[in-house]
C-alpha cells in the first residue's frame, strides 16, 4: 500500500471526473437509442444496426470508465479471454440464427 495514495485519498473528490463522464455517456447513449427507436424515421434494419453500435459503445464505456479493463499485474490474459468469449458469443448467436432459419425454406 502506497502512502502517497492514502494521503491523497483524504482529499479525493466524492465523484471523480472520469466516473462522472462515464455515467453521463452511458445515459446519453441510452436515451439516444430510445429516441432513435421512437422516431420511426429509419427502416427496422438500419435502426437495429445503429442501436447495436450504440450498445457496443456502452460496453466500451463500462469497460474503460468503470471496470479498469486494462489493469493487470502481468500479461493481460483477461483481455484475450474476454475477446474469445465475445467471439464465441457472436458465433453462438449468429450461428444459431443462421442454422435455425431452416423453417423458412422448408415451408
Amino acid at each position: 500500500m502506497t502512502n502517497g495514495r492514502m494521503q491523497e485519498g483524504k482529499h479525493a473528490p466524492l465523484i471523480p471526473m472520469k466516473n462522472f463522464v462515464g455515467y453521463l455517456l452511458s445515459l446519453v447513449l441510452t436515451f439516444a437509442a430510445l429516441a432513435l427507436g421512437m422516431a420511426h424515421v429509419l427502416s427496422f434494419g438500419a435502426v437495429m444496426l445503429i442501436m447495436l453500435l450504440l450498445a457496443v459503445l456502452q460496453v466500451v464505456v463500462q469497460l474503460i470508465f468503470f471496470m479498469h479493463f486494462t489493469e493487470s499485474d502481468g500479461p493481460r490474459y483477461h483481455i484475450v479471454g474476454l475477446a474469445l468469449g465475445a467471439f464465441f458469443a457472436l458465433c453462438v448467436i449468429f450461428g444459431s440464427i443462421w442454422i435455425m432459419t431452416f423453417n423458412s425454406q422448408v415451408h
Binding site: L84, G85, V92, G95, S96, I99, M100, Q105, V106
Partner: protein, 655 residues
Amino acid sequence: MLESLKEFAGHFFVTGEPLIYMSDVAIVVVSLAIVFTLTYLKKWKWLWKEWLTTVDHKKIGIMYLISALLMLFRGGVDALLMRTQLALPNLHFLDPQHYNEIFTTHGTIMILFMAMPFLFALFNIVVPLQIGARDVAFPYLNAISFWLFFFGALLFNLSFVIGGSPDAGWVSYPPLTELATDPGPGENFYLLSLQISGIGSIATGINFIVTILKMRAPGMTLMKMPLFSWSVLASCIIIVFAFPALTVALALLMFDRLFGTHFFTMLHGGNPMMYINLFWVWGHPEVYIAVLPAFGVISEVVATFSRKSVFGYKSMVAALMVITVINYLVWAHHFFTMGASAGVNAYFAVATMLVGIPTGVKVFNWLFTMFRGRIRLTLPMLWAIAFIPCFAIGGATGVMLAAAPADYQYHNSFFLIAHFHQTLIGGVVFGLLAGLYYWWPKMFGFILDERLGKWAFWFFNIGFYVCFMPMYALGFMGMTRRVYTYPAETGWTGLNFVSTIGAYLMGIGFLLIVAQVLYSIKYGKRDVTGDPWDGRTLEWALPSPVPHYNFARIPEVSELDAWWHMKQNGETLAAQNKKAPLEPIHMPKNTGRPFIMGVFFFIAGFGFVFNWFWMGAIGLIGVVITLIARSQERDTEYEIPAEEIRRTESALGRL
C-alpha cells in the same frame, strides 16, 4: 397409511426387473461391507480428515481417478449388456425399455462421468507438478468441483434403483424428452445430474486456466511449458466456452418439464431443433475437451520413450490453439439431416474437414519424434503407439461423415457408432490409459506390472478392432443405432456376433487391468528414485509419491524439458534445495465445506427430480449459506514451518 406408503414405494423404487433386484442386493451388500470395513478398521476419521475434506490437488486427482474407474466399470457393463442383446437376432435378453435405458446410461456415463473425471484426474495430478507449482490456483474451488461431479454422478446412478433411468439417449432430444412423451423422473435425473456436474466442470476449467497462466515456475515462459500442460490449457479454454451452452440447453428443457414452458415442445411455438442446436454447441467441443489432453499425454509419452525432445514443438502448440478455436465452429455437422439450407451444411462440412489439418500435423509430429529415437516399448508407449493408427482411422471416417451429402446415408447408422467409438476409445481412452500408466508411479510410488499390463493391452486392442470394425460394415448394411433387436433376414447376424465377441475381449482387457492394479499394489516394483522413466519434465524431479507441498523450493526453469536439461547439467532438486535455507510454506487448510455443499446440491437435485420443490428450495438455500460462510471466512491458510520441510526433504533424500 401403509397402503399409500406401499404404493409410493412401488413408484419410488424400480421394481419388476430381476437384473435390477440383483443390483439392489449388490448395492446394499457392498455399502454394508464398506461401512463395516471402515468401522472395523476405525477409518472413518481418516476418511474425513485425509480425503473428504482435502484440498490437495493430488488427492482430489486420485478421488477423480477412482470415480472414473468405477464409472468405467458401470458403463462397460452397460455396453456388454447391449452387445449381448444384439449378439443374435430376435433375442429377448433385455426388453426394449430396458435396452433404451441402458444405451442412455452407457453414453452419458462414459462421456460425462468416466471421460471427464478421468481427464480431471490427470489435470489435477500432473499440471501443478509439471509447471512447478504448489497447488492449483483455487484449491477450495477445486474441491467444490470434485464434490459437484461426485454428487452429480451419484444422482445419475441413483436413477437405476430409484425412480427409473433416463431412456432417451445420451443426447436426450426433445420432443421425446418432453413431459408428455416421457413422464417419468428418469429424464429429470439426467437433466439435474448433468447440470450439477457441469457447474463443477466449468469451475475446473477456470481453475486450470488461471493455474497455467499465472502459476508457472519462474523462467517457464509459455513456450517452454510442457505439451501436456498446453493441451490442458486448450481443453480448459474449450470447457469454459462450451459448457455454458449445455447449462442453458439442460436448464431450458428442465423448465419445459418442471414449469410448463414451451422452448422445445411441439405446441405453443416451441422448437425442438433449438435444443439440438444448443446441445451440440457444447457437444462437439466436448469431444475436443476430451481428446486434446489425450494428445498432450501422447506428446509427453512419445518424447520420453523416444528419448528425444518432441518434434515440432511450436507447430504442436499452434495446432492445439487452432483446434481450440475451429472446434467451436463446426457443431451443426451433428444434424446435417435437419434440413438446414445448403449454405449452412456446406459451411459446416468444410469447417469440420479443416479440423483434420492441425490434427494431421500432430500425428506427423509424433511419428517424427519417434523417427530415429531410442524407443522403449513400455506400457505407456505401447498405448501411445496403438493410439496413433486407431485415432487416424477414426479421424478419416470423421472426414467421411463430414461430407454433408454423404452424411444423409451414414447419419445415426452403426457407421457413426463405429466412428465415434474409434475417436473416443482409440483416442481418448487409449490416451488416458497411456497417461495412467505413465503417471501411476508418481501418484502411488510403484510401477504397474508389465506382464499383466501387456495381456490387458492386447486383449483390449484386439477386442477393440473385433468389436468396432464390423460396425462400419453394419452401418453400410443399414443397421441404425439404438435398435434393440433385428430380424435374421437382414443378414446382420454374423457381423453382430463378431462384434459382441470383441466387446467381451475388451471386457477381459478391463478385468486384466484391475488384476494388474491389485497385483502391483502388493508386488509392483517400487519407485524409489521418483524418476522411473528417465523423464523430461519437472514432475519427475520430485519423489514419488510427492510431498503435499510439492516443491520445497520452486525450481528455476530455463529450457523446455526442464528436468531433462537439469539432469544433463548434473543438477538435482537436492542441489537446488541446498542453495539457500528453506522457507516456510503457506498452504490452504482442509475444509469440509465443499463436501457439504455437494450434499446440498444433491438434495436440491433430488428434490427437483421428483418435483418436490420444498426439498429443492432447502438444497439451494443450503448452497447459498455455504457460499456466504465461505465469503465470511478469513483464516483459510496455515504455515508449514521450514524445519518440518527440511525434515521431510531429507527423509526423501532431497537435501
